[in-house]
Symmetry: D2
Subunit: 317 residues, 4 copies
Amino acid sequence: VAGACAGLAQEHRSTPMAARTLLQQALPTTFGLKAAGWLVAVLDARARLSTVRRDGLAAQLGGAAGTLASLGDEGLATARYFAEEVGLPEPVLPWHTSRGRVAELGAALAVLAGVSGKIALDVCLLAQTEVGEVREAEGRGGSSTLPHKRNPVGAVLARSCAELARMHASVLGDALSSEHERAAGGWQAEWDALSGALAYAGAAAASVAEALEGLEVDAERMRRNLDATGGLVVSEALAVVLAERLGRVEAHDLVREAAARAATSGRPFRDEVLEDRRAALSPEEVDAALDPAAYLGSAEALVGRALERWTAERGGA
Amino acid sequence: VAGACAGLAQEHRSTPMAARTLLQQALPTTFGLKAAGWLVAVLDARARLSTVRRDGLAAQLGGAAGTLASLGDEGLATARYFAEEVGLPEPVLPWHTSRGRVAELGAALAVLAGVSGKIALDVCLLAQTEVGEVREAEGRGGSSTLPHKRNPVGAVLARSCAELARMHASVLGDALSSEHERAAGGWQAEWDALSGALAYAGAAAASVAEALEGLEVDAERMRRNLDATGGLVVSEALAVVLAERLGRVEAHDLVREAAARAATSGRPFRDEVLEDRRAALSPEEVDAALDPAAYLGSAEALVGRALERWTAERGGA
Amino acid sequence: VAGACAGLAQEHRSTPMAARTLLQQALPTTFGLKAAGWLVAVLDARARLSTVRRDGLAAQLGGAAGTLASLGDEGLATARYFAEEVGLPEPVLPWHTSRGRVAELGAALAVLAGVSGKIALDVCLLAQTEVGEVREAEGRGGSSTLPHKRNPVGAVLARSCAELARMHASVLGDALSSEHERAAGGWQAEWDALSGALAYAGAAAASVAEALEGLEVDAERMRRNLDATGGLVVSEALAVVLAERLGRVEAHDLVREAAARAATSGRPFRDEVLEDRRAALSPEEVDAALDPAAYLGSAEALVGRALERWTAERGGA
Amino acid sequence: VAGACAGLAQEHRSTPMAARTLLQQALPTTFGLKAAGWLVAVLDARARLSTVRRDGLAAQLGGAAGTLASLGDEGLATARYFAEEVGLPEPVLPWHTSRGRVAELGAALAVLAGVSGKIALDVCLLAQTEVGEVREAEGRGGSSTLPHKRNPVGAVLARSCAELARMHASVLGDALSSEHERAAGGWQAEWDALSGALAYAGAAAASVAEALEGLEVDAERMRRNLDATGGLVVSEALAVVLAERLGRVEAHDLVREAAARAATSGRPFRDEVLEDRRAALSPEEVDAALDPAAYLGSAEALVGRALERWTAERGGA
């Protein structure tokens, strides 16, 4: 997944698209930055899982009750030898009913699943017919009865697996509360829950990877969507420019009023701004201020930082 | 909580009690080892929480969409300065909708709550009228209408808070799946969920601490409960001794049959064993094999290891 | 909520819009049918809640342990009198640790919250900038820094409350598993959970009601979105017409191939169909087959059935 | 399960045992009343499940988007015919994304699982070595290495299945929040979740039934446990008698003080009461007041009411 995200971040480092908050266009961003956000989330989830694999697991040998009594004087030595044999750290104590390790593994899988689910959700939203900014690879997601559909099948599968992974992981959290030296039910529930959490989290990640690897990105459509508000999506940029002349409050009022007039009149926001005498901007100045590609802030630099982290870590895990 | 567990582990390092699996007496252990198990679980949960506090949080400044665009060329520098000001690490990227940090904090709180709940559950079970091995401090848990009751009120409160903490934390996991650059609902749900998770996890830990700090431990009752099966709880020890003479299979058969006869006849298990000619053990040998205090395996050494970890870490956190 | 849904179903009974499956346009439907679907879901949830209120609650008087012992011979009579006083059904037994009633109430609130969340999700999706088919009432959802936004604030609030309601309700389900005659923790957790489930489910419903009551529906935009695929969204309708002449398999092939050609060439699907000699349809016939408003099936009749139910039940609850 | 509960309620209608609140002995009850409590909870859960089976399911035929468009004028008639064929009620509307039905089924299964879990928990607690009031049938729950154990295996299995059933059912609740006319992930997650909820809820009930059907009840041990507090468990009864002479407040003080003295001195509570001159009760009067079997309140009558309901409903479901 990380590799696919990094590839998209790299390739679309400078591809402008709308950033959306509460599912409304808010400001311009780049598809590269969106993919970089996915990338960093995946790297975080992978790092957490690696930490659990490295530090969070431990050999478990304790006899029926954790005292190693049936091994007589050889208890501790045997436990050490056993840990070496299975290649896992030797714990301070046998951990029959200290299920924190299993719960931590569950939590790490749940976060991995959640991150996969977030990427998949974004893909589904971007692939909507009315948005059309991405679609999964040719040959995927066809519908026998509705030939025009290109269903985001990898993303949909990832979302359903992510939900099931998180459900299974929740049982591993419940199992912390186990009676005395062996739980009467909670421990037994772990078996199905652990294998389910592993399988579904893996499936969620695999499905997202498939969805991203062949993802077709429509940069033109991104740009067209970004232009659909007639500049309103960059009104913040205009307000910044105006504030230098008019002060923050008046600049904001001017923008708000022009936006309201545009909504009522159906005329371009740009024209409503030009008409306001307080603005005193030339058409060229307004157009420059309302160019989404010119209001991307630190997006490109941020993508660079994410890719640097990826380069540094890619050998690892 | 850790301090109280360590105190109990130290003081009861050699206090024999029954280890219970599936809520049945299984083998002897010590109360010190039980408390050491709690201690290590608490230290693990604390370490996890400390890691989240140290590495898992990060400053968040990104503007409306994560590009820092309204700050012009000063975006990255401002973000760095902001992180310094608030005393939190600077993240690779603004993390509007990378909610892994919040989910990880929730997971760490859920584990802490779960560990608190496990200790509280053990306390409730040990405090049962028919078990009577511990009770919360004098003056706590009185009932106005039932004057004989000594309710384990701290443990009960801890269990209810642990449940509520885990519930709130689960919302933080759900919130991972957030739309684009700002979730339409999931993010807003985090607010109540995060404060609830913090408050209830803290309350669970505080209640367990109170319950443990004044805990009255009845070592005599522990011993009496351990003797209640007439030696059956140490039948594994006897099987180990017999196996040296008879081989593993026959030793096990002998023990199982004597246990069955004892259950039917009502006579002591010890006497049924002595009567079996295959055993060929003297009464003194049988009594020695059936002494619970002599079948504690590595319990004491294990308590020592847990206390060493506590000593090493207590300054920290 | 039901009233607002009914109003929308009535008013937009014949307003064509795209039905979307897996977030892809699939076929035409009407906004009236969508609102009717919400309406029926709300009526179901309301009916369930009414049933719980009518049959699922019961007076609870049992003394400390459910025997009514402290009332001597007057136990049953007192319990009956008490139930009359509080105006609740008298249960077969006191129900200290039969928490099914509370869990059922929680489940009904969770379903209500879930239905509210579903409606709110649809509103958020329809209100997306690129979809623009609905928006919440004038004056709601303005953003101070992004003046062009019309955030679906009621729907967003409803989604977050729905999540929190479901979380609280889940604790009421956990509490079923209570020890003996009074749970040691689970019962105490019910207090916060029950009031939270009630408050948040109510808030979810109230927020959806607010969002729907002032909802601005853009029927023109619905139609424009429906036309955006150049007839592809009604390709099923065309296949039905063609199947009468060519048989099901060949009709389907023709449609699929024309759709593929349209996607490659950028020419209208309609023209690609006309060009295929197997079709042998006149332009008028193709246009008729590809009119979304002519392929609404039983949508209108179904809206009528939902409204009939609403009329029949509106006095009730 | 209901049949086994009814059998136990009938047989042990007058078998005194300790009622336990917060896992402390509180007052006498009867095992019959405990079993009657289980019975009523099971009947409630069964009734709920029957209601869902009868009213909560419905045929589903709607075409890709719920309009029945591909069926032309025959849509409604076909849907009616289809419902008849599959033997399910015809719904007001096709219910692609009105998942209330599935969520309700999940909720009913979760309650069934929760009730099974509650009974199983009580069995586990009663089967504890130190309580010893019940055990599962001969031949069940033996341990190869610990021959004395009689693990409550049916109850343990029931608890783990109940947990897994509730987990799966929670996904069905989440799936309520589905996008437009077909969810992009939530619906697909229902498949595993629904079959899991059905299978595990069934397994939980089946395991409890097995545990209860062969349950060995030790009435003598129940009585011995009830006597273990030397009358303290019936101190409420004594306070009732004393209140007639001394007033409520002084009676309560007397009892509380005698209980405290008994705890300190180790002498029987009975003797401490006799010594208090305010009491002015004869030894016979005190013994009568402290007879647990005489302080069962309406337990027997309540068992009768539960069995009446069972008799009335047993043909049904």
